[in-house]
């Protein structure tokens, strides 16, 4: 695809703009911002990727991954400011998920050790881990707040902090991972996954694209479950002090 044809596709931006204007939907500003940002961000990423792919240098690959983890942490930590040390807990979670998945992929030679594989897969894994972290933190903080009486009850009867938040932890892990699992049940029936569609359009053999998509789906299952469990087990101890007393969460600033 050329830049010229991309320019023509701007028609797809003009249609919502015109509709928004005529129907007074007030979506013009956000649509324009979204368009400009996506063009700049994706082109920038494209150029950087081209550079990294050409050099094939491990250092650049690592640098890209570090940047991805930094950006994911920056995004997700806002949802967990009430949890002490949330920043490094997220960093640790993202690193673990990345090392685990790439370790298996590269270690068992499932994918080749090239930037062309490592970077997009890392992007999907870390991006998904970030979304899962946000889902988990949102749910966990609200569970802990609404169930604070139950937590104190269990402590008062001689339960440990882990026993006191066990239910909240499990509920939050389930609630955050279920969408990932559910969405795989209907995959392909309604819409083709974005990555697979992209590959097919770019000329790949559909069956190859499917095999690769399956790999990614399985990878994201691990990512989802490991992210929620790890973040949960890193987070719950900060809700208590060394005398096993439940510390009230600071009210989240809206």
């Amino acid at each position: 695809m050329s830049y010229l044809s991309l320019a023509i596709t701007l028609i797809f931006v003009i249609i919502p703009l015109v509709l928004s204007r005529t129907l007074n939907l007030g979506l013009e500003k956000d649509t324009l911002i979204a368009t400009v940002r996506s063009i700049i961000q994706l082109l920038a990423v494209g150029y950087v990727l081209q550079l990294v792919f050409e050099s094939e240098h491990l250092f650049y690959i690592l640098l890209m991954i570090i940047l991805m983890i930094a950006a994911a942490t920056q995004n997700a930590r806002k949802k967990g400011v009430q949890i002490k040390g949330i920043t490094w807990k997220l960093v640790l979670t993202f690193i673990t998920v990345e090392v685990l998945t790439q370790g298996i992929l590269l270690g068992l030679s499932i994918t080749p050790t090239t930037a062309q594989y490592i970077i997009p897969i890392s992007g999907m894994v870390i991006g998904n881990s970030m979304v899962l972290s946000i889902l988990f933190l949102n749910r966990f903080i609200s569970e802990v707040e609404t169930k604070s009486k139950e937590t104190e009850l269990i402590l008062s009867l001689g339960g440990t902090p882990k026993q006191a938040v066990h239910k909240q932890l499990i509920t939050s892990i389930q609630a955050s991972t279920i969408p990932t699992i559910e969405s795989q049940k209907t995959i392909g029936l309604v819409q083709l996954p974005g990555m697979m569609s992209g590959q097919i359009i770019a000329g790949a053999d559909p069956l190859q694209a499917v095999l690769f998509q399956l790999l990614i789906l399985f990878l994201l299952l691990t990512t989802a479950v490991v992210t929620s469990i790890m973040l949960g087990y890193l987070s719950y101890p900060t809700l208590f002090n060394e005398r096993m007393q439940f510390l009230k969460l600071e009210k989240s600033k809206k």
Partner: protein, 242 residues
């Protein structure tokens, strides 16, 4: 200076939350084997005092001695099993009556036998048939009875009861009063009972504490409630007696 028969001794205990003083210079004793009733207007800090005693919160300053030992010298779990606490609103976890009743043991990886469970339910005046019911279906009064039974499972030597008869009708209240007195006599359990019912405080208590505004304003034998020395206490007692 723990006297031999102080189950809990409070020495200059203060406690605050976010800079707001909730308990101020509390000095006094819950005598071992006795029933102390604790009265005072809402917000006086009564429930907070219990939280400190059960180890759910720590004092900012002062000492609390439990059975003669500094409260922090106990492991939290050990302290909480020894100092039973039936909380104000009889909180239950989602699940059945049996699951809630057995919780103090399940938390230790032990099991409460069906016989023992039924015996406890009977003790507090609940039919054994509700064992498998969800606690969501219980009335306020049934929850309070279950909460008392659950607190007994750990066989605490000190029992803190926070407004445990507020949702009960007069007959059930008298049953629970008789039960608590029986536990006190039979096992020598030290009992501290927060109540809004001054009549109850007078008749059940050996000793009574009156708390107002975070302070312990009067403490002594329960009949003293009839002729309070402190003006604030007199006002409080009159107000409630109308």
């Amino acid at each position: 200076m723990a006297s031999v028969n102080a189950a809990v001794q409070w020495n200059h205990v203060t406690f605050s939350v976010n800079g707001k003083t909730i308990l101020q210079d509390i000095n006094g004793t819950f005598l071992e084997g006795k029933i102390t009733t604790l009265v005072g207007p809402s917000g006086a800090g009564k429930s907070t005092l219990f939280k400190l005693c059960n180890g759910l919160a720590s004092a900012d300053s002062g000492d609390i001695l439990v059975a003669g030992k500094e409260i922090d010298s106990y492991a939290p779990v050990e302290l909480r099993r020894m100092v039973g606490f039936a909380m104000q609103d009889a909180t239950m976890v989602d699940g059945t009556v049996y699951e809630n009743l057995a919780m103090p043991l399940t938390l230790q990886g032990k099991e409460l036998t069906e016989d023992k469970a039924n015996e406890l339910l009977k003790l507090v005046g609940l039919p054994a048939t509700i064992s498998d019911q969800s606690t969501k279906d219980l009335s306020g009064g049934q929850r309070q009875k279950l909460s008392i039974a659950r607190t007994l499972v750990n066989r605490p030597s000190i029992l803190l009861l926070d407004e445990i008869t507020s949702s009960l009708d007069r007959v059930s209240q008298q049953d629970v009063e008789a039960l608590i007195v029986r536990i006190n006599k039979q096992y020598g359990t030290t009992i501290v009972w927060i109540t809004h019912n001054l009549q109850q405080a007078r008749t059940i208590g050996d000793y009574t504490w009156v708390m107002i505004n975070g302070q312990l304003v009067e403490a002594g034998e329960s009949f003293l409630l009839d002729q309070p020395e402190n003006d604030e206490v007199r006002l409080f007692v009159k107000g409630d007696n109308s």
